[in-house]
Symmetry: C2
Subunit: 506 residues, 2 copies
């Protein structure tokens, strides 16, 4: 009789739990699983999972019920995808080697500066999914408690570029724009792309979907056309039209950034260095050579003071120059929402009104789009200094921008008109007054409670602007929702927050 | 026909997933659940769960499979317990109010000092389970990056005491001891309790189970007697015998601390202030008046330098005096394990050998126990200065300590002898040499791979000490395991780490 062979590796049968944990790799095993017993794993253990040549680190949880059997391991979608699994496949589970880069995070916590090598090691491990939320949070917090200096910000930017995919276009200039955010309805991107592309500038714009806001540019444009294009289709659209507005989710320009942003949001911590690295790394990876960055400033915007904006501006310019990127950081008014609509379809309506020169078009959205498009035209040399905005306005007024917008939509799969939600309720001024303040954050919250961005047709239509005089009973804004239930829910919040729009005696 | 009533709250049927997540409240809902749609929840959303008058905050994850149905919500054990649920119960799910105390964590991150009120707010929210791992990690990191000063450490200690349960004994002195850890086999507690109680000192000792180590004192004592006593039974044992050795898990002396320790461990971050608050808050809550703290120092112990030990000593003394606690912090040798056994049953054997004055008893364990017991006897005034250790040694040598040990075991439910594991394998010196170093951390790891503390009988028996001269083929240590499979696994690790015990040419 043969002697007993060596113990097989800790193999378990993979089971897909269909669990959306964003980028976090989570696995579930039985408490009485032989793997837990032999390896001494307990709840929150970090484990190494191996499927053939692929290997990741995940957080393990234990269950005593039949969620999984004792020879199975249940995986979150992120873990399933990273391991390239098929149902019933076998994976082995072991203790991970200690993460060397965590020593560098600890070094940062204890006051050491991050250099290029340590930053790259940290970011590479984050991209490979080797950091738990606890590790990510520690890194993000350390970068705020002991702020990144210029050299560290440059190192972080470089590490983020180097760990993602990168596009090259083979010619220059390649224009791009970004808004640091926090302003509901600030949907200038489709207008800017249409204007710039109509004037011969190449502007291959990728945008995000909303994460905490009521709409991202990709959500808004998806109301009007297809935005989920792959890189090859994107290239075709850009080669033909000079511009595009597609969802950037499929193109992993800075995968570490997604993980860090999720943590920053949970902590409501914005480190200036991390923000600059995040923005610029994505632009560099997208092949941009000339970028305008919109920094709205206001008491309820992301950047709340002119001094913070000025410090951010300066850091952006210094880091960009290190990468040969021509950048203009514009400080803009962030005291109230832009346009009228807040929510994908309502914003899409505003965008169309502006492009079509509709008499009802929100003038502030048109003006802001032309300001940024003009800055891009000047930065890339398409317009002499001081003439960019007028050139942009002309493209808008003559309809060439709208023609270009229609062409791009056709190239992306066709145009469709926006449809608003069935249920609506205006919210009225309780007394006459003058609009003294509009709370961007809480208004965004109302739009989300109404169903945006999940329900593209839902949101808020804002009827007033700062300084307007209103009569008692005049509508301040209107809620749009898909169901009476959601309407009731949003009304509850609005009723409990009557000062979202503050009126003073006229 | 009645008009449609108001929308019911977001009610879902609770389903117990038997999921061990330690103290983390996690819930699982379908992506297409009406609650997700109407509330806009996504993966990692923090949600408020309400069951009658009980309400907690949990982290939500989404699933697309039939893990739960679309009108169910699956809960981790921590969430289930905190909400006091029964199977099939209904709970409502909503957006939690913003946590005010997170502003204070952010303030700390940005350099503000924590005062009593903000520390209490943070710790109260942690105890109530309102912090996610991301929040906890940020707080722990901030306390390391911008170290707690004396006032902050006192505030943290006070907040931890005030948020847990607290015992009073009605008389003084009440003795206690603590070891800051990191030294395998350092099982002095049962010996110290037996000595002190035999000499008339009240020492109501509660101990922890192992979390990352191969054995906690509670694991070791559980080999010999019952340790899972409630507070009432503990009082009876202490009233009758003057001492006890029970598991402290049932008595929530400092519930915030469990959450913080889990995070500190994951980050391998030890903040001096957090450590002192953790240790002292538990002693104060347990009603101790006189405490000796053992600080082992060595290159592979928790505290690695004499200067770190001295700084820790000074902070312990200053904070303790603020609470009227008499404390002596002893710096001890942490260069190698204590005794021979590493693992519950092996350590229990060592403890018995010492108490029974067995000729084979490990002298270092006896000496260390008498040193600490002596310090406690002097600190409480039971022994004149300079005579404590001799008094302790005398109690050991005359057998009165062993009699007391037996009495306490009887009072706790009876004594049972330790049994070692069936499978064992000695690990031999490859060449003659002198023992130059012993790696505490990796040796603890070997004991865990062998099955400790889950298998109480498993572990490592260490046969050499620093400075010993060994022949080629002489056993350095022996692995004990319950199964041949675990033995093979531990041998793999030992083979890959031949330098756990370093030999130099004799």
């Amino acid at each position: 009789m043969a002697p007993p062979g060596p113990k097989p590796p800790n193999a378990l049968t993979a089971r897909r739990l269909g669990l959306d944990t964003q980028d976090e790799a989570m696995v579930f095993v039985r408490s009485d699983s032989p793997v837990c017993r032999s390896e001494g794993f307990s709840a929150h253990s970090r484990v190494q999972l191996t499927n053939g040549t692929r290997s990741i680190i995940a957080t393990l949880y234990q269950t005593s019920t039949n969620l999984v059997s004792d020879h199975e391991i249940g995986l979150s979608e992120a873990a399933w995808r990273l391991l390239g699994l098929v149902e019933g496949g076998q994976i082995s589970v072991s203790h991970p080697a200690p993460l060397e880069s965590l020593k560098m995070v600890r070094g940062k916590v204890f006051g050491q500066r991050l250099d290029d090598a340590s930053t790259r090691a940290i970011i590479s491990d984050i991209v490979a999914g080797r950091y738990s939320d606890i590790h990510l949070s520690s890194f993000v917090t350390a970068c705020s408690a002991l702020p990144l200096d210029l050299a560290e910000t440059i190192a972080l930017t470089r590490a983020m570029v180097d760990t993602g995919s990168r596009i090259t276009w083979g010619h220059a200039p390649i224009a791009d724009k970004h808004c640091v955010g926090g302003l509901p309805g600030n949907r200038t991107t489709p207008v800017i792309v249409a204007i710039c592309a109509s004037l011969g500038l190449t502007i291959p714009k990728t945008s995000s979907r909303a994460i905490t806001s009521p709409a991202g540019t990709a959500d808004t444009m998806e109301v009007l056309t297809d935005v989920d294009l792959d890189l090859e289709s994107m290239r075709q659209v850009v080669d033909q039209e000079g511009g595009c507005f597609i969802w950037g989710g499929g193109v992993q320009f800075s995968p570490a950034d997604d993980a860090l942003i999720r943590i920053e949001r949970a902590l409501d911590l914005d480190s200036e260095g991390a923000l600059v690295a995040s923005v610029l790394s994505k632009k560099i990876a997208a092949g941009a050579t000339h970028v305008v960055i919109d920094i709205p400033v206001g008491p309820t915007a992301k950047v709340r003071s002119l001094s913070a904006a000025s410090s951010l501006q300066s850091l952006i310019e210094k880091v960009a120059s290190e990468f040969g990127l021509a950048v203009l950081a514009l400080v803009t008014d962030g005291t109230q929402p832009v346009g009228r609509g807040i929510g994908p379809a309502l914003e899409a309506r505003d965008v169309l009104q502006v492009l079509r020169n509709d008499p009802d078009a929100p003038a502030d959205l048109a003006d802001r789009a032309c300001l940024i498009a003009g800055a891009l035209l000047e930065l890339t040399g398409k317009a002499p200094s001081g003439t960019g905005k007028a050139m942009a306005l002309n493209a808008l007024r003559t309809g060439t921008a709208y023609s270009k917008f229609e062409s791009i939509c056709r190239a992306q799969g066709g145009f469709r008109p926006p449809v608003l939600a069935e249920h609506y309720r205006p919210f009225l001024a309780p007394a006459p007054g003058r609009v003294a303040s509009i709370d961007n954050r809480r208004l965004a919250r109302v739009a989300k409670l109404a169903g945006a961005p999940g329900d593209k047709a839902a949101g808020v239509d804002l009827h007033v602007r700062l300084g307007d005089t209103v009569k008692a009973g005049q509508a301040l804004y209107t809620l749009y929702t898909q169901t009476p239930g959601e309407l009731a829910y949003a009304i509850d919040y609005v009723t409990a927050n009557p000062d979202i729009i503050e009126l003073t005696r006229p």
